[in-house]
Structures are given as C-alpha cells and as structure tokens.
Symmetry: C2
Subunit: 328 residues, 2 copies
C-alpha cells in the first residue's frame, strides 16, 4: 500500500472537513445505555440523519462541487440519483450559486422529486427499465458543458463522506470498531480511510441488506461481483455491484460485512423511534440492526468502543406509518 | 430582588450541572435552516428528548435525590407522577442504589407503568377522581420514613432542570430569547434563573396549551389562578394551577406565555419527524409549535437568536401512529 497510489488519503478527508466547516452540520453523537446493554459494548451513534438534507450525502456532494474549477462549476452540475445524493447535489449547487440537473427514473417517488425540485434543481427523467442512468448523466453533462458528480465514483465525494468518521473520532476518541452502511461504498471508503489513519487497529465493518450483498460477495471473491437487482426496503443500499473506485479502496480497508434482513431493519427503526427518539430511514437503520442482532460481534472481535453511523433519516411520516403498520 | 430571598440561584444550577456531569447526557443542540427560515430567526433546539428516560426530568430528579441526607436517601424516595418525572425518579433511585415508590393513578397508561417498573420502582396506585396524589405521597413518605421528591415544588429539582438552559448557552453563546414549555413550572423556573444570569436582557417565554393556561392567567392576575382540568394531548403541560414555589420564581423571571392548540402541536410533531428527524412527544413539541406558528414573535421582541427547549420524546410508535392518523 503506497500513498501515491491511494486515490483518497486521510489528508483529503481532513481537507474536506475544513471546507465543510460551517456549511455541513457537525452532527451529534448520541449514546443510549439501553443500547449499550443490548450490544454489550459502548456504542457511539453518529447521527447523519440530522445532517442537512437528512443524510451524510451532503458532505460528499458539497466537497466535490466546491473543488470543481470555477468556470465548470458555474456551468452547472449533473448527477444521477433518485435518492439522497440527488437532494445533496441540488442543495450544494444552490449554496454555491450554480445550477443542478438531476437524472431520475420517471417512476421515482413524488416526494423525492419534490424535494430535489424544492432546492431548485432541474429534473431529467428516464425509463429505468431501458435506460442507463450513468450513461445518460455523462451524455447530458457533455452536451451541456456541465460537470458530472456521480454518487460515489468520485474521490472528492468519498473524501467528503469520510468526514463523518473524522468528526466521530474527534468527538469521542479512539474506537475499536466502526460500523458503516454500504450501498455504492463511498461512505465506508471515506470513513475507513480516515478511521484507519486515526485509530490504528480499528475494525471497519460494513452492513448490507441480505438481498443486496454485492460488496460482501465481491470482498470474498477478491473482485467486483454483481447481484440481481436487490429487493429491500433499504433503497439506499440496493446496489447491484460495487463501484470500481470504491471497491479498490474497500478491498484494502474493510474488515468484513454483516448482513441484515428487512424485518430486522424495521425493528431497528422502531427501536430508534421508541428508545433513541430518532427518525432513521431503512438504509440508515441497517447498521443499528446489525448491532442489535449482534450480527457484528464476530467481525468486531471483542471491540468495546464501537462507532455506528446512522446514515440518514429521510423517511416521512406517511411512509413510516406504512412501514410500521406492515412490520408489526 | 435580593439573592438571600431567592429559593433557587444561578449557582444552584451550576452546582447541579457539576453533579450531573457524566450522569445525565449533555444533550445535543440541533439546527435547521428550514426552521430558521420559517421562524425568521436563528433557532437553537435543545434536545431533551434525547436525555436519559427521554425527557429533561432526569436532571432535576437526580439532582434532588443526590442531595438528600445519606440516611434518608438509603430509606428510599417517594414521588407522585404518571409521567416522565416518575421514570426519572425511578432511574435516579436505581443509579443511587436506593428504592423508589411512585404514586400513580390506577388508570395510568400501561406503557408508563411498565417503564417505571422496568427501572425497578414500586408502584402504588390511587383513584384519580377521589384521591389527592400529593397528600397520598406525603403520607406514604411519612409512614415509610422515606424522602418525598415532588415533580416541581422542590428547589433542587428546579436547579437540576435549569441545567438545560445552562448547557444550551454554554454551547451556543448568548441568546436573545428562550422558549420553554410550562407544566408545573419547574423547567422554566430553573431555566429562567440561569438564563437571566448568563444573558442579561434575555426574554424567557413560556408555552402552554390553550386548554391549560393556568400560568398565563396567573401571571396576568399576579397570583396563582386555577383552571378546570385541561383537555389536551400535551399531558405533561396539563397542570391546573402553578406551583407555589415555581410561581414565586416565574412571576419575577418569565416575560410572557404563548398558547398553542393541540392541532398545532400535532403539526409540530410531524414537522419534527419529517424535517428534523426527531421524535418529540406532544408536551415537548409545544414550544416548536409556538415558534412555527410565530406565536412567540410579539413576546420575543425582535430576538434574532432563540433557544427552544424540546423537553421530551416519550411517545412510542403506536401512540405516534394514532396521533398522526387522527391529525391528518
């Protein structure tokens, strides 16, 4: 492992933190003795559900947008996402005084499209059954002379997401393990990069839904392996194949992946509501589910101080009622 | 106003803070630009919903219990409450290695009785239509040789609750206004005591449900005035008459009271869920409702930096679903 070959360094994460200061929230770390008792270790919950746009995604989006050359930034930013990254790019563009164009499937939930439009972004729709969103985004960026900021295949996005772990360790001190959800792998890549620099010996554990275990399979295979389109309530973690860039980092730095079922995620969401008083979306509750089911125990190898990233809170009252009614 | 005549001083609050360090959570302060926009000022939300037992009550209960003479503490603590103070006393007693006895109405919600019992407290029930809970508590304490810690008519309870405002001002700096819910008046009495010492000129604004405006009426009359048993979803704010001790403080230090309707509280709970990603119980959402409806504006007199106490989060998933279904 040579530093020069590393696409994202700990210093990149520190630089991102300096840039995000006063722009992104320094989110709180929440503790619960009930949770500590159930997990049989000290758990530090990093509340990215309380981040701007309701998810960690704002960190990477803003960091990447800010580092564009000025003339490219002023031309605008294109991205493809139907989730939190779309809102994050829309808000980052607004804050930086430029335009965002978001490529979304035409059947994306109305609430998500509304949120993106609410930040002033333009939405371009495509048919998710026939279209390739990355290709459409790239073509659009080329045609309009705009910058493309992909959701995770971007070193500045990864560095931005890493500030989650940086802040957590700065606030609570050394950790033995860090539990991070894995979708495309940007969050865990950034977090692992800085966490392993700040806490030598820390175990970095990813969490995926059972139906979307592409990163687990890929780590085991030693190469990127695809899975069928996952059916899971954790839409943010429903990737079919790890990113090339993120996997090149994660294969070096991630110590293992725990899998959780949708029913366990629902239980964790209810636990977060009833006991932690926090609203956490399905993708954000996957890590908590892995801790509550003690599914991380073997991977954590006796860790006593465990950081857990609650990555987002974008589930509205209506959807929450629906999920809780179905899940009870 | 002479210091010697003051039942609770700013130093009492500082002493309580020193005692609570490492025992109570130093709860986070949450910001939201959406909220700032709607309120047209900078709002700092002090999240006591994230406190142990899910409400600020643990602060006062633990402070008061810790200051009992050792032999009295070891005999046990009696209190009367069907709400968060009951859980707070139960937990404080457990932490201090003594017994708690809680006088609750026999028709108290099962979930609340379970929570109290879960902390190991004994429950003594009474008929709320014929019994006087304070009298029953006093008799019980006398008969068993135990200490009575009332929910708000106790200087050490009030000083403990004041640590909410102390921490808030320590964290965010000087405030122009502080918005605090008013039930018996202990939280606002403690908060006003320390806030006026730390921020000369700060406006301290109470919030009551429209149906339970006993403190507002009392402040206007210049003496304690009772109201009929209030019908409101904000059970923690449904007092019939201010406490003697709390009113003696609040009549000097509280600058005004804003009233909110139950429908506004429900809306604020939904806003807290959807936009802030926080679970707040009805009594805890009253202050947010007062800010969102701009009902505090006149009382805040152009304040630009406003602290708002979210006092508790003890609403479980089932009750939340019920309230949101009814309120939508």
């Amino acid at each position: 492992m040579t530093t020069t070959a590393t696409p994202v360094t700990a210093d990149d994460v520190r630089d991102a933190a300096a840039l995000l200061e006063g722009v992104a929230h320094r989110t709180p770390v929440v503790r619960s003795r009930t949770l500590d008792g159930l997990a049989r270790r000290s758990v530090f919950l990093k509340c990215e559900n309380l981040q701007r746009v309701g998810a960690f995604k704002f960190r990477g989006a803003y960091n990447a947008a800010s580092r564009l050359p000025v003339d490219l930034l002023s031309s605008g930013i294109v991205t493809f996402s139907s989730g939190n990254h779309a809102q994050a790019i829309a808000l980052a563009a607004r804050e930086l005084g430029t335009q965002a164009v978001v490529v979304m499937p035409e059947d994306a939930p109305r609430s998500k499209a509304d949120a993106v439009a609410g930040y002033g972004a333009e939405i371009v729709t495509y048919d998710r059954y026939s279209g390739d969103r990355a290709a459409i985004g790239t073509q659009l960026a080329d045609a309009r002379g705009m910058a493309l900021i992909a959701p995770y295949e971007n070193p500045a996005v990864i560095a931005g997401q890493g500030t989650v772990a940086l802040e957590l360790v700065q606030e609570v001190g050394e950790l033995d393990a860090l539990v991070v959800p894995v979708g495309g792998g940007g969050l865990i890549a950034g977090c692992a990069t800085i966490a392993k620099a700040m806490c030598p010996g820390i175990r970095v554990i990813g969490v995926e839904p059972e139906a979307g275990d592409d990163t687990k399979r890929s780590l085991e295979a030693g190469e990127r392996v695809g899975v069928p389109v996952p059916r899971t309530i954790a839409d943010g973690l429903a990737g079919e194949i790890p990113g090339e860039l993120t996997f090149s980092i994660n294969r070096r730095l991630v110590d293992g992946i725990a899998l959780v079922r949708d029913a366990e995620i629902l239980h964790a969401m209810r636990f977060a509501f009833d006991r932690l008083k926090l609203v956490v979306e399905p993708s954000g509750a996957a890590t908590l589910a892995a801790v509550l089911t003690r599914r991380v125990d073997e991977l954590a190898q006796g860790a006593t101080r465990v950081g857990v990233v609650l990555s987002g809170g974008n589930v509205d009252t209506g959807r929450f009622l629906e999920l809780m009614s179905a899940g009870s």
